[in-house]
Symmetry: C2
Subunit: 194 residues, 2 copies
């Protein structure tokens, strides 16, 4: 079977979406490679051609989410927009990436299932993302629009509210990602505003 690089990448992305969805329903330990493969119309053996196993899949889900979060936040943080607008856009991008792209990716929560070296890498990426959010908060504080006694705690409060959405939000539930984004952004913005 000849496959282009682009074809392979698209296939990997489809596998990650499916894996995230199965992880969400079953939890990491309850999910099986067989079930993930079945939903993709692939033989389990073919799945192993792309990912070495469940840990590898979980890591790839988290790494993909974090790459997108960091990329979006980096663009937003260097946009020159007022800090309030930056923060609002970061909230939107965060929920779009974690709830939308990954179908409510509870993969986001399953840290302990990762082997140490993968967990370290995920923690590094999370720290990098958190640093961008702190930077935006600091700019807002310097501009006199945001208030926080401790910028790290403020960032963790904002990110906590965002990250927790993967626990309760469901694609089939009563709220669209748009509705959640709008109100969560409003609450969090008021929360950090002077």
């Amino acid at each position: 079977m000849v496959q282009t690089v682009r074809g392979r990448e698209a296939r990997r992305a489809a596998i990650l979406r499916r894996a995230a969805e199965v992880f969400r329903r079953k939890g990491f330990h309850g999910a099986g490679m067989r079930e993930i493969a079945r939903g993709l119309g692939m033989a389990p053996g073919a799945l192993y051609y792309y990912f070495k196993g469940k840990e590898d899949l979980l890591f790839a889900c988290q790494a993909m989410s974090l790459r997108r979060l960091i990329q979006s936040a980096t663009e937003i943080a260097s946009s020159g927009l007022p800090p309030q607008h930056m923060l609002r856009q970061i909230v939107r991008a965060h929920l779009r990436h974690t709830l939308g792209d990954m179908g409510g990716g509870l993969a986001h929560l399953e840290f302990h299932a990762l082997p140490p070296e993968m967990l370290e890498e995920v923690v590094r990426q999370r720290d990098a993302y958190e640093a961008i959010v702190r930077q935006v908060l600091k700019e807002g504080m310097a501009a006199g629009v945001f208030a926080a006694r401790d910028v790290k705690l403020a960032a963790l409060t904002v990110l906590g509210a965002l990250n927790w959405t993967v626990v309760w939000w469901r694609p089939e539930g009563p709220y669209t990602i748009e509705e959640v984004s709008e109100q969560v952004a409003a609450t969090l913005l008021r929360g950090v505003t002077r």
Copy 2:
């Protein structure tokens, strides 16, 4: 061995604290009954006298946390205090119970590890707790001090920021529970205030 009811209850509580601590470090699937027993100076067999297994322990950890959360929130919500004070006290009680009593109980996060009937019970208790928080928010809205387009989303934003603390807070880390409570409460209160 003769044991009083009170002795048995104290022993159960000590086991849950220890279990929560091991779950936090190792994750549910990485934790072992043997390791939990060892830290208590008990034979693994003796541990099974109190809890049927790891699922039972995890369920008991969550049930104990939720019982305390609901009890505190119920008392606070019927205190007749102004809604802002009630919400501040709920934040404090929440962090005291989830971070303090359970030593940063990541047990709080491991839903999927529970068998269906235990998970259902935990979800029921979580819903009951969330309902009390919504009630406080509604009272604040009726009193004209809180603002929220959708009270459920506001409650989930508040609870998300609180629940996520178990992911990043560590007893040996730079912040006391008191410091976290104070600033998280300030941010969330501003967030829901009109």
